[in-house]
């Protein structure tokens, strides 16, 4: 007796589940992260190849269609893989979050599709527990699909407006109840044999709910939302895994569901907000009210003067922010830093956990520019060093260096830990003008005695700074 296909399938799924967990584990430390995705990738490959062995065990009813189904499977697999591979390779580093959203939505859609097929299997006897999980997975997966698409469109600049009207939450709530009611009907009344039209209505309701739920959320909150939908898809996959009696799906799905939930909470916490606050409130729309005018004036400075002061400083700390990403100035910035380092200056990057618009945004940008990992420091690790720095330079950051977070209880960012740039002997702030940050509040740092403003686009300013230092070196030789 030879080994049965089902045995190979089971064994492959077991190893895939192991490799997924082990891979995620490796991904969770910077040193081993790169090998982690490869490990997980091997698991995916093994599982996908093994899934072709289902060919040998299909139900009798499916046997006449087996040839067609196999061709369809190969075509779908190839199309999906090739398109995703191509788009993933091509996308700019800064557009990663929306790409993740897109792929994640696809996973939610696939989970919903599994549920849909289940509801269409008219010949089968459906048990209650799997049906409930199928419905839950279908709802969550559909929300994740349509919601992720909206998130993608927003981050990609295809939808700009945040769609808000009074009574919105009431309508969303009503739609949600309708969706659940349709789902309950499928389970408890139709016992999994509902008419196609009703099943379709159920899915459409869930999809629309996903759209409505995501539309009012501002683009800057999207990373949190994407992470939430990522957890959603994980849950949906886990539930459908139970429906299919497939532990690999159950485990991978639930691991992601739980990890993704925690990740979402951590992200929201780093922004000093709660997840429900992100999803249900109109944050940032009402920023500039009730703020006492800040006394004093902003003192402009020339890029070249600032550059030369840094060139002769002992220690410079750089606090980059969202503006650096907008200006794509990371390469020029690192060029400038290399000049400083060559001149013997000690340079460190101070990264606020929510600098930019996604977690790790700054790290990814700086890594892209080639900044060595060991020049980059987290907030807790560097905050005590600002008082020893001769110059702190803020590049396109605002909220993350706003002292109001420490003192002003009425400020929306009150309580968020900030980078103590104001403790440096001299502070330079690079920004284009009087533009506010993500939270829309004034920043008294810009008016402080030891602060000078270097106005201009971050990239242009960096070019000017490089120029200044270079011409200095040129003169010295």
């Amino acid at each position: 007796m030879s080994v049965q296909p089902q045995f190979i399938i089971d064994a492959s799924y077991l190893s895939a589940a192991f490799l997924f967990i082990y891979g995620l584990k490796r991904m969770s430390s910077p040193v081993t992260a790169r090998s982690g995705i490869v490990v997980a990738g091997v698991g995916m490959l093994v599982a996908t190849l093994a899934s072709f062995l289902y060919y040998f065990g299909v139900s009798e009813a499916a046997e006449p269609h087996l040839g067609t189904n196999l061709v369809l499977a190969v075509v779908a697999l190839s199309l999906g893989t090739v398109w995703a591979w191509w788009s993933g390779k091509r996308v700019a580093m800064t557009a990663m979050p929306q790409m993740v959203a897109l792929y994640n939505g696809m996973g939610g859609g696939a989970a919903a599709a599994i549920a849909a097929v289940e509801f269409l299997r008219t010949d089968a006897v459906h048990e209650t527990v799997p049906l409930v999980l199928a419905v839950l997975g279908a709802v969550i997966g559909s929300i994740s699909l349509s919601g992720s698409l909206i998130a993608w469109a927003k981050l990609d600049g295809r939808i700009n407006k945040t769609w808000r009207y009074s009574g919105q939450q009431l309508i969303n709530g009503a739609l949600f109840v309708v969706t659940l009611a349709l789902g309950a009907y499928i389970v408890f009344v139709a016992h999994g044999h509902a008419p196609v039209g009703l099943v379709a209505a159920f899915f459409i309701a869930a999809l629309i709910f996903g759209v409505l739920m995501t539309m009012p959320i501002g683009g800057a909150d999207m990373p949190v939302v994407i992470s939430l939908y990522n957890a959603f898809t994980g849950l949906a996959v886990g539930f459908e895994g139970y429906v299919l009696q497939n532990p690999a799906l159950m485990i991978a799905g639930m691991v992601v569901g739980s990890a993704g939930t925690l990740l979402t909470l951590l992200m929201a916490k780093a922004m000093n907000r709660s997840v429900s606050n992100v999803i249900f409130s109109n944050f940032g729309a009402s920023g500039d009210e009730a703020q006492g005018e800040i006394k004093g004036s902003q003192k402009p400075a020339e890029a070249s003067d600032a550059a030369i002061q840094m060139r002769y400083a002992n220690k410079v700390i750089i606090a980059p922010g969202y503006g650096l990403a907008v200006a794509q100035a990371q390469h020029k910035l690192y060029e400038f830093v290399k000049l400083l380092v060559d001149a013997g200056v000690e340079v460190k990057f101070a990264i606020h956990p929510v600098a930019g618009r996604m977690p790790g945004h700054m790290n990814v940008l700086l890594a892209e520019a080639g900044v060595p990992y060991d020049m980059i420091f987290d907030l807790e690790d560097i905050n005590d060093e600002f008082k020893e720095a001769d110059v702190a330079i803020v590049i396109g950051a605002n909220d993350t260096v706003n002292p109001a977070a420490r003192t002003n209880k009425s400020s929306p960012i009150y309580g968020m830990p900030i980078l103590n740039v104001d403790q440096a002997k001299q502070v330079y702030v690079v920004k284009r003008g009087q533009g506010k940050g993500y939270s829309g509040v004034e920043n008294e740092l810009f008016f402080a005695d030891n602060t000078n403003m270097v106005y201009g686009d971050a990239q242009k300013v960096m070019v000017a700074m490089i120029q200044a230092v270079k011409s200095l070196e040129g003169g010295a030789h």
Partner: protein, 104 residues
């Protein structure tokens, strides 16, 4: 063969519970800089849904099922492949400086 897979209610709950603990514990100690790559990496992991869609498609008995199954596999494959590429590209950047220098 007594090594087959049978999942009933409680066993499923045990598996879900353990998987949830595992996922939580793995993420709990991650530094913030890895949040985005990890979001993407876990996004890749649930791409395993493609395997479930394969099952649905290969067992399809009607055109509707075939269409939905096809879409499911297509989407699942996109999730898996896209998740992999994007994660790999992001993590590629997390080289420690010494190695980077050495590589040049």
């Amino acid at each position: 063969m007594d090594l087959n897979t049978t999942l009933t209610g409680f066993v499923a709950l045990y598996i879900f519970m353990l998987a949830a603990f595992t996922g939580y514990e793995i993420i709990a100690r991650v530094p913030a800089i890895l949040h985005t790559p990890l979001m993407s990496g876990s996004n890749f992991v649930h791409g395993i849904v493609v395997v479930g869609a394969m099952f649905a498609l290969l067992n399809a008995t009607s055109t509707v099922e075939q269409v939905i199954g096809f879409v499911g596999v297509l989407l699942g494959a996109g999730n898996a492949a896209g998740g992999y590429v994007v994660t790999e590209r992001m993590l590629e950047m997390f080289k420690p400086s010494s190695k980077r220098e050495g590589g040049k």
